[in-house]
């Protein structure tokens, strides 16, 4: 029984390492592929965040107005 459990341990840790090691390899390889075939453009995700900031400012302005009213 204990021997068997030890075998399962070896098998289990082996597979866990195998799985995650393969994942590491593929992710590294994928990173290279992405960099090669889809080279970094000027990140478009920055622009919307600016827009978000403006939105926040607008929201804050409205909030100030609201606070005044409720005073």
């Amino acid at each position: 029984m204990v021997l068997e459990a030890l075998k399962y341990m070896v098998l289990g840790m082996g597979i866990v390492f195998l799985f995650l090691y393969l994942m590491v390899v593929i992710l590294n390889w994928q990173h290279k592929l992405v960099e090669k075939y889809f080279p970094q453009k000027e990140e478009p995700s920055a622009t919307p965040s600016k827009r978000d900031k403006l939105k926040k400012v607008a929201a804050i302005t409205a909030a100030i107005a609201h606070m005044k009213k409720s005073n």
Partner: protein, 441 residues
């Protein structure tokens, strides 16, 4: 008000005239049908009524346990479980509430689980039985593995795997920490062999998975391999996840030198949107090829994450992260709590589960830290071994603990993002380990 009254009376007339007139006529023939029922009830004196009622109170049931009485599931209960057992369990439910509210222990699950436990220990009520409402919730989502997977879906939708993508090799730390699972499995079997515990291999496997530090994974496996132990396993898993800031630091300090704890790691690279989109698909394909048994768990996790990262179904992603996971958490908690019925929880096994779970956490932490030391030796870039402890998962608590321990030595050493890599890898790691265990048994 008057208008309303008139309106109502008119309305009532409209309803009543047809009903009264037509229906009475149409039913005249079967009028004597139910007159018989009246006799069925036999007359009782008010005294015997009160006595009969007293015998249906919880006080009577608890203070007069009866040999051979059955629980809501039709199984015989010992007199101990009918009486003191229930009182102890109610106390334990209160303890869980105290820990959840005053100490902040994973309240999202411990409160529903504790309340489910309270309801499960009510004598005579059938709440956890076949037509009771918690019994129905159990059938609807635990017996068929649905609820833990829906939670895992929500976890996927809430998790940013970016830190792992920025530094993939830290995933190996998340692999090492799974030694908590398999080491404990060996220990549990050995102790059972020696007669200390009394667990089958399946039981031992379901208990060891507590070391994976993932609630849904633990519940998923326990509901498959050892449904009778589900309550204790779930309580142990969530309690120890909440106790990560207590359990891990001493182990981390014992295994590292101050110099190691001061190691600063390189700032992580930026991760591209496309990598994040591809990540869940990559992991799922790997699962399909290597370990189909893990695919329900990893499938649910990666589905949630793919919905999140695809960026085109924001409304589904938000629903998964909020309403859906909340509703399922309520149902799952109550249903798991139904396994806190005295006759299921107050058994010697529970003691073993609590102890082995703690051991599993400790071994996992140690294995992660040691792997961190090894990787630091062989890697070109420095790796702080503390982040290895985050490999047990318990997202994001363990990563925060690693960060905190790092800052204790050197307040400028921010490890949080570095620790998130092994932390989320640990989720995948224990899902893989769970698949291995399922494929064996």
């Amino acid at each position: 008000m008057k208008k309303r009254l008139i309106g109502f009376v008119l309305a009532l007339l409209v309803v009543m005239i047809p009903i009264g007139a037509i229906a009475t006529v149409s039913h005249m023939t079967d009028e004597n049908k139910s007159a018989v029922h009246h006799e069925e009830h036999q007359e009782k004196s008010i005294g015997s009524l009160i006595e009969g009622f007293y015998k249906q109170t919880g006080i009577y049931a608890i203070f007069n346990p009866q040999e051979g009485a059955k629980n809501a599931l039709g199984e015989e209960m010992s007199t101990f479980h009918q009486s003191f057992g229930r009182i102890i369990m109610i106390g334990i439910a209160f303890l869980l509430f105290y820990l959840a509210i005053a100490k902040g222990f994973e309240p999202l699950l411990l409160i529903p689980i504790g309340f489910g436990g309270l309801l499960a220990n009510i004598p005579l009520a059938n709440i956890i039985g076949d037509h009771g409402f918690i019994g129905e919730l159990y059938k609807a989502g635990i017996a068929n593995e649905l609820f833990p997977l829906l939670i895992f879906m929500g976890v996927g939708a809430m998790t940013d795997f970016g830190p792992l993508l920025a530094n993939p090799k830290t995933a190996l730390l998340g692999a090492a920490a799974q030694f908590g699972i398999f080491g404990t499995l060996v220990g549990a079997v050995a102790l059972s062999q020696m007669g200390v515990f009394d667990f089958t291999l399946q039981d031992a496997a379901a208990i060891s998975i507590i070391g994976g530090a993932d609630g849904p994974t633990s519940i998923f496996i326990a509901s498959k391999l050892a449904p009778d132990l589900l309550g204790a396993i779930a309580v142990a898993a969530y309690s120890y996840m909440a106790l990560v800031p207590v359990i891990q630091p001493p182990i981390m300090r014992a295994l590292t030198t101050p110099e190691e704890r001061r190691i600063k790691m390189k700032t992580t690279r930026e991760v591209r949107k496309l990598e994040k989109i591809l990540f869940p698909l990559t992991v799922l394909v790997l699962t399909i090829l290597i370990l189909p048994e893990s695919s329900p768990l990893i499938g649910a996790l990666t589905f949630g994450n793919f919905v999140r990262e695809s960026g085109v179904v924001e409304r589904l992603s938000k629903t998964m992260q909020n309403e859906l996971i909340n509703i399922v958490t309520i149902f799952l908690g109550l249903a798991v709590g139904s396994k806190l019925a005295a006759e299921k929880f107050l058994v010697p096994e529970t003691l073993g589960i609590l102890l082995l779970g703690l051991v599993a956490f400790a071994i996992g932490t140690a294995a992660g830290v040691i792997m961190g030391k090894i990787m630091n030796k062989f890697s070109k870039e420095p790796i702080n071994p503390l982040i290895g402890a985050a490999g047990v998962s318990a997202v994001p608590m363990a990563a925060r603990v690693a960060n905190k321990e790092g800052m204790r030595e050197d307040p400028t050493n921010v490890l949080l993002m570095h620790a998130m890599g092994p932390n989320v890898a640990g989720v995948i790691g224990s899902a893989v380990a769970a698949g291995v265990l399922l494929s064996i048994f």
